[in-house]
Each structure stands twice: as structure tokens, then as C-alpha cells.
Amino acid sequence: MIAELGLAALWLAAALAALQLVTGFLAVKESGGEMAVLVRPAAMVQGLLCAAAFVMLLWLFVITDLSVKLVAMNSHSDKPLIFKLSGAWGNHEGSMLLWITVMALAGGLIALLERRLPERTMMATLGAQAFVGLGFYAFLLFSSNPFERLPQPAVEGLGLNPLLQDIGLAMHPPTLYFGYVGLSVAFSFAVGALLTRQVNPDFARAMRPWVLGAWIFLTLGITAGSYWAYYELGWGGWWFWDPVENASLMPWLAATALLHSASVLAARDALRVWTIMLGVVAFSMSMVGTFLVRSGILTSVHAFAVDPERGTFILALLAIYIGGALVLFALRAGSIAEGDRFSVSSREGALVVNNVMLSAILGIVLLGTLYPLLTEAFDVRVSVGPPYFNPVGAVFVFPMLIVMAVGPLLRWRQDDWQRVKRPLIATGLVTLATLVLAMMPGSIDLLPLLGLAFATGLAIASFLPLRGRALLRVPLATWGMVIAHFGIAVALFGMASESAFSQEKLAAVKVGESTRVGPWQVALAGVEPVAGPNWTAIEGRLLAMHDGGEAIELDPQARNFWAPPQETTESALATRWNGQLYAVIGNEAGQGRWQLRLWWKPFVTFIWYGGLLVALGGLLALIGRLSADLKRRAVYARAEARQRGVHA
């Protein structure tokens, strides 16, 4: 019964989306005015129905209803409750339902809360949102029904795979989905504004919180994904320029650019067409990323369940959404005035440069990711990796870092370089001094060298906008910017330090012997076989001492899984404030010696601390913007009430 209710709710939601689409677009034409009253309620009820369907699915997983195919395939009555719940979205059908639910709830929220936009643009936006939603409803209802029953209830579920019982794995996809859905809202705003040609600061203010929210989730998703790859893959690297990683990086780059150009539009009514374009591009990147990952069209180190049919479907959706939006863009962009002019030496000028740099980096990553796809069409297999991405990306990253340091100090519209000369020269000198200092050992490569210097400079520069201000009165959004920029400096420092100062030691040691890596003395205290539910492993017991301090125990494992047969390394980490010791054990090397691979990675953790700081900055900015909006709304309401009082 629950499953049928869920399916019914989903069908009703889809029907409401169709209603929302038709009435929304009719309302854009003046003549469809009387239908317009239906659009907002349709969006809100659709959100509620989807939420209800998703709760039904969660409930089916909680009670382990084995007559439902999805539950039987992906759950088990003995699973801990938290993994029963996460099992609901840890599969294709459930994750699609989660996606559409978040999207419908977002549509409902816009309908409920957004009052700044002109009504016609609002209707067009909700119509576009319904249009995007309908594609996913079709996919879910016609080919991926999560509520499908089995002809005979299963005796027990199949989903007790302990490998998938990982809280990080359970939370990672929803995090990215929230990001992608947020960008779909920005896309709907962009399409809505294109339809009515009403691109103005109110449009940017309405869109901005959604972009910010999406951007926070994407930042968290990328940071967590990078740390996962670092400790799980056992190669000691934290970014591999793998298609799956790039698929999450590209929407982030586009969203970052969009965030900044929306700020220019909101504050100065400039960059109208550019902001619209980025709104379309940001969502395109999340769809392209999803397509590349799910269709299996590119070979990736991350194993993913792939299905060509799903790939075809996502590609068709891509063609309709993005193709449609780009046609609309080509037809309308010329008739949207470019907005206010500004001088190069102004806040807007700096933001434009930042946007160009971010777009260039996005282009580089996109090209590198798609290049193998292109050459494979001519039967040439290539793999594009760090030798391309790092130096080519750096050409644009370092100029962008300079703009990041300078831009926030400039005033809007027009500024005089003389005003900001002194702090900037001081920061430049510190950067130069760091560079010279880092060059002393003479063994550090160019990119890490520049990274160390620029990270130091940016870390100082990011706080300069607070100079001479009463800190308690600085708006939350400005604090957000300061902290996010500082977070970039921290992450950059971690990356540069990891690459410049990492020490690696590959040794074959007997039990009782020890070896050194960096400031660490590591002794192999024992090696034991251990067994898990579907694997056996060799576990090393290492005692690591940092500069003769207290010994820390590390237990790295080399695991052999038997179904499917697969060898994995479980690395062990010792974290200090100034870096991490990373240990991997290999096989026996003969004569009772064991292969140990050890890395000392100074300040490597700063990469992820930096990522968290960036997300925190985004959160502060979001809270700041939302509370300012609420305040403004309250002021307007009071003014209106007063006016009415005067007239009465």
C-alpha cells in the first residue's frame, strides 16, 4: 500500500509539473493572465507530493518491505537503521527520486518566498523549472520506477554489502545533488529572464542565494571527495584529474564565476548577458558531468555502475534543456542591453577579469576531460593528466589569485590606484620575500614555489578589506568573502607544501626493524593476518615516533576481497597540526621483510581545511544575504502599513 501511495504521489506531482509548465508559459503572454494564479500553488503542492513520495520510499526501507524490488535489491533486514535509510538513495532509482524531490521542494520554496521578481519573469522561471522537472519525472516513471513490486516477495534482501556501509559514501551523493539542483534553479531563473528580457539587479538578487547554496554544497562535495580519494586509493595523492573528479569541479568553477558576476549585476546592473550565459553554463556543466560519469563513456579510476540506456536518456535531456536554452540565448541575447558601463580599475573591472580567468580554467578542464572522447572517435586512445592540467591551468590560476587579492580592495564603478597602493605593495613584498625564501633550498619546482608565495600573499590580502573598519559592523557577506578567499589561500598552501616538501620512503623491513621518513621514526612492530566479512588482509602494526616523541600506532592493511576478487590497500594516517604521516603496507618481500611505503606530507591537511573554510565563507555570505533580505522586506512592509495608515 505504501509503495502504491508513493507512486501515486509521484504521478500527481508529475501532472502538477505539466500544469505548472503550461500555465507558467501561458502567463508570460499577457493573455494567459487568469491562469497565472495556478502556477505558484502548483509548484508548492508538487514539492509536497514529491517529499511525500520520498518519505514513503524511506519508510519502505525502514520496514524492509521485501515485496518492493528496490528494497530487495539494495537492503537487508540486518542492516543498521542509518544504512537502511541511506540505502534508499544509494542506487539509481532512489537517487533520481531524491534529485526530483529536492528540485520540486526548491520550486515550491521559490513559489512561496520569491516576491522581488516581476510577476511575468517569475511565471516564466517556474515554467522553466517545471520543464526541467518533467524530464526527470518521465525518466523516473517510465524507466526507473523506485516503487516497483516483485511478483513474489523476496525472502531476504541482497544489500548487505559491508563495503557500501560507509557514512561518507552515504552522504556524498546527496551533497552533490543539492549543488546540482541549486544550479538547476539558477538555470530556470536565467531561462525565465531570457523569455521576458527582464534582466536586472532584482533578478540577480533572487538568483544569488540559490547559487550560493549550490556552491556551498559543491565545495563540500569536492573537498570530501578529494579526502576520500586520498585515504582510500592508497596512492597518497589527493587529486587525479580523473573524469569523475572533473565532473564535480567544472560545475563548481562555473558556479564560482556565476556567483561573482551575479554580485556585479546585483550591485551595479552590469554584466547582464554574461550572468545569464553563466546561469545556463553552470547547470550544463552539472548535466554534462552527470552524463560523463553515468554513461561510462570515459574510463575512470572510480568504478561506477554504468548503463548505456541511462547515458542515452541523460544525453537526450541535455540536448533538450541546454540546446533549448542556448537557442533562446542566441535569439534573445542581442536584445538585452548590456547594462551600466564601468572603468577597468574598479571592483567590477576586477570581477570581470576574475570571471574571464575562471571561465578559461573551466574551458581548460572541460577540454582536457572531453579530449579523450574526441580522439577516440578517430580511434586514438589518449589519457589527459597532470602534465596538461597543472601547467596550463596555472597560467590562469596565478593571475586570478592576484585579482583576488586586489579586487576586494577596489570601490565600485571607478577607483584610484593610489588609494590602495600602499597595502598592495606591502603584500607584494611579502609574497616576493616568501618566494625568495622558498627558493633557498633550490630543490622546489616552479609551480609549488609560486603556490607557496601566492598563498602567503593571498592569505594577507584576503584580510585587507577589513582594514580600518569596525569589525562588528562589517556585513556578514563581507566576512564571508574574506573567509572564503582566505580558505583558498589555505588550500593553496596545503597543495604547494604537499608538492614541495613531501618525503617518500619505500622500504622492506623485518618485524622489529625501523626506518625513517622526514622527522618520523617508524618501527614495524608486527604483521598479522586479519579477516573481514568478505576479505582477508595482512595488517601491519607500525609504531611511529615524531622527533623522538610518543609512539603512535598505525595499522595499515593490504586487503584481498574475494567476490569480486580485488586487492585494496587500507592506508593508515597519523595527523599532526603540521602534516600527516601516510603509511601503506605491501606484500612480503622475501626473508621475512615487508614492503612499507611511507610518506610525510607537511601541511597536507590544509588542503581540506581550506575547502571547509571556503564553504564556511559561503555559508556566512548566504546567512548575511538572507537576513538582509528579510530586514529589507520587514522595512517595506512597515512602510506600506504606515502609508495605509496615513491614507485611512
Binding site: I297, F329, A330, E567, N587
Partner: protein, 175 residues
């Protein structure tokens, strides 16, 4: 000026075209080695099993073509291909093996259970030789000619229908 607004759409159409074309192509998961036609890299592997000598590059330069089988005791498809390797051995083919990331006792147990078609077995503990040859998984089987040059690569387990193909490739390598 109008023309510029269509560029994003044109780029997107290009991507769409390539992606759609690639989707219709059968997906080939195998990564062919770029080392085919090249001499074997230099290596000197200790014996993986007490009954058989280890393996060095020099062993391939005796003028006789042979099969180089990359396998491991922990690999299930290797069990499936064992009888077919045995067939090849009975046909008079010299087969040498490289055991990847393996332990002597496991190797011994595997060979005792599934038969031992190898005249030499080297132990490659870190997959270094495997990667050097351009093999990306186990099992893989290479045809090496009498001068130590890689002539053919077979990816995946050797099945009954592959036996004749490998014999033919060995014949070609001998000419």
C-alpha cells in the same frame, strides 16, 4: 555581432554529436599495450615457486618464441584459463609466467590445484614489470618472439577459442 551569440550553441552541438556517436560505439574496456612491437623491458624477477626458476629478460633471447602469461593466485579468471594453458603446453608451447603481487605459498597451492604449465615463474611484487610491459590487469598473455620482442597481446582469460589464435601468433613470431 549577431553571429557570436550562436557560438555557444555550435560548441554544444559539437559536444552532443561526439557524445552521441561515442554512445553508439561498442564500449571497449580493454587497454591495449603500446609495447606491442617493442622489446621487453629489462627485468630480473626472483622465482615465485621453489620448483621453477625466476625470470629475466635474457631468458627470452634464445631464438624460441613463447607465451608470457601474467597471472596471480588470487585471480579467479586465472583459474578458468588454467586448463587452456595446459592444452597449449601439451601442444609444445613454452609458457613462462609472472605472478603479480603474490606469496610463494599461495602460488604453490594454486599450481598444485590447477596445474602448472609454466617452465619459469617470476614474482612481480609491485606490478612494476607488469606495468612496464603495458599490461593493465590479470590475466593477460603475451606472445614474445625469439629476440624478446612483444608480438601480440591477449587481454583477459584464455578461452578454448583462443588456443588456435595463440598458436597461430606463435607460428608468425617464429617466422
Amino acid at each position: 555581432m549577431r553571429f557570436w551569440w550562436w557560438i555557444p550553441l555550435a560548441l554544444f552541438a559539437l559536444f552532443l554529436g561526439v557524445a552521441a556517436y561515442q554512445l553508439t560505439q561498442p564500449k571497449d574496456e580493454f587497454v591495449p599495450s603500446t609495447m606491442v612491437g617493442q622489446p621487453l623491458p629489462d627485468f630480473d624477477l626472483r622465482a615465485a615457486h621453489p620448483d621453477r626458476p625466476g625470470l629475466t629478460t635474457a631468458d627470452f633471447r634464445d631464438g624460441r618464441p613463447r607465451l608470457l602469461n601474467i597471472w596471480a593466485s588470487w585471480c579467479l579468471p586465472c583459474i578458468a584459463e588454467a586448463p587452456h594453458l595446459e592444452t597449449l603446453r601439451r601442444e609444445g608451447v613454452d609458457i613462462v609466467g609472472i605472478a603479480i603481487r603474490d606469496r610463494p605459498e599461495d602460488v604453490a597451492r594454486f599450481l598444485a590445484t590447477h596445474g602448472n604449465p609454466y617452465s619459469r615463474i617470476g614474482a612481480d611484487d609491485l606490478s612494476e614489470v607488469q606495468l612496464g610491459i603495458g599490461s593493465s590487469g590479470v590475466p593477460e598473455t603475451f606472445v614474445i618472439d625469439g629476440q624478446g620482442i612483444i608480438r601480440h597481446q591477449h587481454i583477459g582469460d584464455v578461452r578454448a577459442e583462443h588456443v588456435a589464435v595463440l598458436l597461430e601468433k606463435l607460428q608468425e613470431a617464429a617466422e
